[in-house]
């Protein structure tokens, strides 16, 4: 789906982080960012990948996962319209720290690291506002992660239950693998 610039403007007007930008700033923004659509279950980015763009969610909801091992991923949370994905990689240029997939049909605006760099060095208020948002968001995530770490150690019963469930899951996936090996071995023997 290709959106006209008026439609795009309408979309970004509903996204909180663009509020307070002047029309000129919005047009600068739309001239540099790319729109992209994702279908449910499609990946925006994968943990460990080296992609440094910032995604701003304009429509839909995404799921954020931490890869535990090949078969198990833990859902960290969901994000909706107005949230940003990939701020950390945009700032530090390190690989993605989580996998993000579309939960519903999703539309994003994508701003590359180079675009951001150029705007920032030119003293663009848009880049400053994005940095403001990124900083606020990062700090909120640090405070939240601190809380999670605190509760993992301060609520051991709950943590034990989670770990127990995880061990059961891993055991299950190991025995699944074992079963499938046996089956394929049997088929080989038949040949």
């Amino acid at each position: 789906m290709e959106l006209s610039s008026e439609q795009l403007l309408q979309v970004i007007n509903t996204v909180p982080i663009f509020q307070g930008l002047s029309d000129r700033e919005k047009n600068t923004l739309l001239a540099i960012v790319r729109t992209q659509e994702y279908l449910p279950t499609e990946e925006l980015c994968r943990e460990g990948d080296r992609g440094f763009s910032l995604f701003i969610i304009c429509q839909g909801t995404v799921s954020i996962y931490k890869e535990i091992n090949e078969d198990v991923r833990e859902l960290l949370g969901e994000s909706g319209v107005g949230s940003m994905i990939g701020q950390v990689s945009l700032i530090d240029g390190k690989p993605r720290s989580a996998t993000v997939t579309a939960k519903t049909r999703v539309m994003t605006l994508e701003c590359t690291r180079d675009d951001f760099e150029r705007l920032f060095n030119a003293g663009s208020p848009f880049a400053f506002k994005i940095l403001d948002q990124i900083s606020i968001h990062l700090v909120a995530r640090i405070r939240n992660a601190n809380k999670q770490l605190y509760s993992l150690y301060s609520r051991p019963t709950e943590t034990l239950m989670k770990l127990h469930a995880l061990c059961m899951n891993i055991q299950r996936s190991i025995s699944d693998t074992y079963d499938s090996i046996e089956i394929s071995d049997l088929t080989k023997d038949d040949e």
């Binding site: 700032i91 208020p125 900083s135 405070r143 993992l152 609520r155 943590t159 034990l160």
Partner: protein, 180 residues
Amino acid sequence: MGQRDYSKLYSAVPIFKALAREEVDEIVSISKMFKARSGHVLLEEGKSGHGAYIIVQGEASIHIRLYQGDDTHIATLGKGDVVGEMSLIDDAPVSATVTTTTQCIVLHIQKDKFDELRSAFRPAAYKLLRAMSPMLCERLRAINERIGSVFKEPERHMKLMEKRYQHLSSHAGAVDAPTE
């Protein structure tokens, strides 16, 4: 201060390297340099923050409180390290206690004045934020890794949690800390 020695300043405060001289002047004008004895509390968990502190000389240590009086050492800080920068960004209470462990020289960037520069869209303020943001990313990655390790090595952590359980059950009425 007469003529400012920028090369000295740039090497004492590495984060200033992202700023031009006039921008350094702007940040220095909203900062205070002071000496602290060993054991001085720069930041106290739960209190409101008053800005960022840069260790120009000496060492300090970061601790966070766990439920029932346990403290966990998080990191040791040295020359050029920055703490309290999160208070330049939001108004939430300080998230860890920072105490000097030697005599220190500290540069304090004052929050209220930094906020003024930021709302005036001064490049100096944003360049400083930009220079500090990789440290925030680093911190976030480190905490997430620590959380991730609990789930990546479930068996080792089940033993650890059993110990925590025993510790808490001998010290508290209820074992788990209440949810907020």
